[in-house]
Symmetry: C2
Subunit: 340 residues, 2 copies
DNA sequence: CTGTTAGCGCATTCAA
DNA sequence: TTGAATGCGCTAACAG
C-alpha cells in the first residue's frame, strides 16, 4: 500500500539506487540505455520521489515565505497568485504571512527560515526589525518596498515616477491645487510617492502647499478622516491624489458625504487599481501596478537566489494610469471649491 | 557555523540522543532531573530541532493546504488569517491554493498531499473532481461549502437560516416583492441560500415568483448583469437579496445607473460583510459570517484529524445581520417601482 | 527510566 | 559510467 521507493525502481530496472537517483536528477550523467531502462521502471512502478526525503537530503525545503505589509489588503491577493504560480511551476511552495506592523511577527517568519521550515523570504513590508541582523541574513527578496539601510535584491516600481504620472495627468486636466493623502511616512515607499507628488508639481511650475498633504495609513477610514482634515483646513483644492485605492474610496465617500461631487467638484486619483476601484462610484481612476507580474518576478528572483544563479539584477516594473471616471477637467464649478 | 544537532545537546547533558529526543517530545517519559539537565543543555547550545528531520522521521510535513473557491475574493483573506493563526500556534504551516473552478487545479493540490508535500486539505470549493476518488482520500475538512455525495468533517454556517435572516429582515421592513441574485447553482452552498430565500418567503405567506430569481456567479459584473435582467423583466420588486457582497455592490451600482435610489426605491441586502460593504454607497446591510473563526475552527478540526483525536464533530457557526443603510422600510416611493 | 540500534528515502562520495 | 557504502538529524522500537 505504501508508495514505491527508489529501491523498487532500482530492482525492476536491474541497476543500483544510485543510478536511479542519477538518471532522474542528472540525466546526462548516465548512458541513454540505462536512462531509458530507469524511466521505464519508474513508469511501471508509479514511482514519485518523496519530496520530503529529497529536501531533507538536499537541506532545502522548497518553501518560500511571502511576508506582506497587511494581509487584509486585497491588493496582495494578485501578488500571491503571481508568486504562487511561478513557485508551483518550479516545484516550490508559498507560505503567506502577515507582518501586521509588528516586529515580532516578522522575526517569527525569519525564524522559520532559520529552523529550516522555509528557504527564503519575500519581504513586502516597509521595514525590518533591527534584531534581524543578530544572525546572518537568510535569502531575502524585497518587493514593492525598500528597506532603509539594507541592500537586498529588489523588485519594485518607480514610485516617484508613478506618483508623478498621476499628478501630471491631473495637471493636464487643468488642476493646480492638488492635495495628497499619503501612506505611513515612516516607510520608504509612501515617502517616495510623496516625493513624486512634490516633484511633479514643482516641475509643472506649481506651488507645493504643505497644507494640502495629509498623512494617513492606507486604510478606508484613514482616507475618510484625511478628507475631513483637508476640508476643515483653510487651503482649497480641486483634485486629490491618494497613495492607495482603499483610501481613495474612503475619500470619495467622505467628499460625497460633505455634499461634494466627484469629479464635478473634486477629481480623485488612486493608486493600485484594486478590484473595487471599478466598483466605486464613480469608478476610480488609478495608477495600476502589474501585481501578478510583480509576484512572478519576485519568485523568479528568489529562485535565482536559492539556486545560486548569477547575481539577480534588481528590476523596476512599469506602471500605467487607468482612466475611469473619478477625474475630470478642472471646471468653473470646481473653481468654486478652489475659492471657497 | 552549522546549527547544533541533538548530538551536541546529548554530549553536553551527558545523556544519549534518545533521551534528549524524549525529554523534548515526551517530557513525562523522563525524570525531572534528566529533563532539567537536557533543557539546560538545549539552552546552552542554542539547539533548535531541525523541523525537516523531525517531519521526515515522523512522516508528516506540518503543511496544510487551504484550497479556496476563488482566491481573488477578499472574503478569503480573513479566512486565511484565522487558519494561519491557529496553524502557527500549533506548529503547522498553511499553503493557500486557488481552485479556480478547475478540476485540474484541485487535483494538483490533492497530489501535493499524496506526494508528502502536505498533510491535509481544507476545502473551500463547491465541488471536488470525480478523479479524487481514484485513491484513498487524504485528510480533508470541508468548510463553508458542502460537497455532494461525500461525507466529510465540515465547518459551515446554516446557509438556509442565514438567507432567511436576510429575507425576514426585509419582510419586517414591509417588503413583499423581494428579488434574489444567486451564486452558481451547480454548487450546494448557493442552492441552500436560495432555498432559505424561498422558505422564508413561503413562511411569511408571500408568493415566490420565479421571475424574481436570477442566477449569477458571485462576481461584481454578474451582479450588474443580474440587475439589468431583473429590470428588463416584467416582475416588479422593492427589495433585493444578493448571495454575496461583491454582487450586491455591482447590483447597487447598476440600480443607480438606471436612476433608481438605494434604499429609496430598492432595498438591498448582501452576504459576507466584506470590507467594501462599508465602503459602498450606501453602506451595505449584509449577513456577516464569522470568517476568522471559521478559519480557526477549520484548522482546529484539521489538527484533530491529523493527530488522530476523537472524531471531530461537525460545527455550525452563527451568523448575524449587520444593519447599515442599503435597506429601508418599503415606502410609497418604492411602491411605485413595484407597480412600474 | 535510559541507552543501543535501526532505519526514514534519498543524494553523493569513493572505488572500481 | 556504475555500484557499494555512508549519512542527513531525528524518532521509535527494543533491551536493559
Amino acid at each position: 500500500m505504501s508508495a514505491p521507493t527508489i529501491r523498487a525502481v532500482a530492482e525492476l530496472a536491474g541497476v543500483s539506487i544510485a543510478t536511479v537517483s542519477r538518471a532522474l536528477s542528472h540525466p546526462d550523467k548516465v548512458t541513454d540505455a540505462t536512462r531509458e531502462k530507469v524511466l521505464a521502471a519508474v513508469k511501471a512502478t508509479g514511482f514519485i520521489p518523496n519530496r520530503q526525503a529529497v529536501d531533507f537530503r538536499r537541506r532545502s525545503t522548497g518553501n518560500v515565505v511571502l511576508l506582506v505589509r497587511d494581509i487584509s489588503n486585497p491588493f496582495y491577493l494578485d501578488i500571491y497568485r503571481g508568486v504562487e504560480e511561478h513557485a508551483y511551476a518550479n516545484g516550490y511552495r508559498v507560505l503567506m504571512g502577515d507582518a501586521g506592523h509588528d516586529d515580532q511577527r516578522i522575526l517569527r517568519y525569519v525564524e522559520m527560515v532559520r529552523n529550516r521550515q522555509a528557504d527564503g523570504l519575500i519581504l513586502m513590508t516597509g521595514r525590518v526589525p533591527e534584531a534581524i541582523h543578530s544572525a546572518p541574513l537568510p535569502p531575502i527578496v524585497v518587493s514593492l518596498e525598500l528597506v532603509d539601510g539594507v541592500r537586498l535584491p529588489t523588485i519594485a516600481i518607480d514610485n516617484r515616477a508613478a506618483a508623478a504620472l498621476a499628478i501630471n495627468y491631473l495637471v493636464g486636466l487643468g488642476h493646480s491645487r492638488i492635495a495628497h493623502i499619503t501612506g505611513p511616512m515612516t516607510d520608504v515607499m509612501p515617502r517616495q510617492r510623496h516625493e513624486g507628488y512634490r516633484a511633479a508639481l514643482a516641475a509643472a511650475g506649481l506651488p507645493v502647499d504643505p497644507a494640502l498633504t495629509v498623512h494617513a495609513d492606507f486604510h478606508y477610514e484613514g482616507g475618510q478622516r484625511a478628507v475631513e482634515q483637508l476640508l476643515s483646513g483653510a487651503a482649497a483644492f480641486t483634485a486629490l491624489f491618494c497613495s492607495n485605492d482603499e483610501m481613495a474610496v474612503g475619500a470619495i465617500n467622505a467628499l460625497r458625504a460633505r455634499g461634494l461631487s466627484v469629479p464635478g467638484d473634486i477629481s480623485v486619483v488612486g493608486f493600485d487599481d484594486i478590484v473595487f476601484a471599478t466598483a466605486s462610484d464613480p469608478p476610480l481612476t488609478s495608477v495600476r501596478q502589474p501585481r501578478r507580474e510583480i509576484g512572478r518576478a519576485s519568485m523568479a528572483m528568489m529562485i535565482d537566489l536559492l539556486e545560486g544563479r548569477a547575481d539577480p539584477a534588481n528590476a523596476i516594473l512599469p506602471v500605467e494610469l487607468v482612466e475611469r471616471a473619478s477625474a475630470a477637467p478642472c471646471t468653473v464649478n470646481a473653481r468654486r471649491a478652489l475659492l471657497r
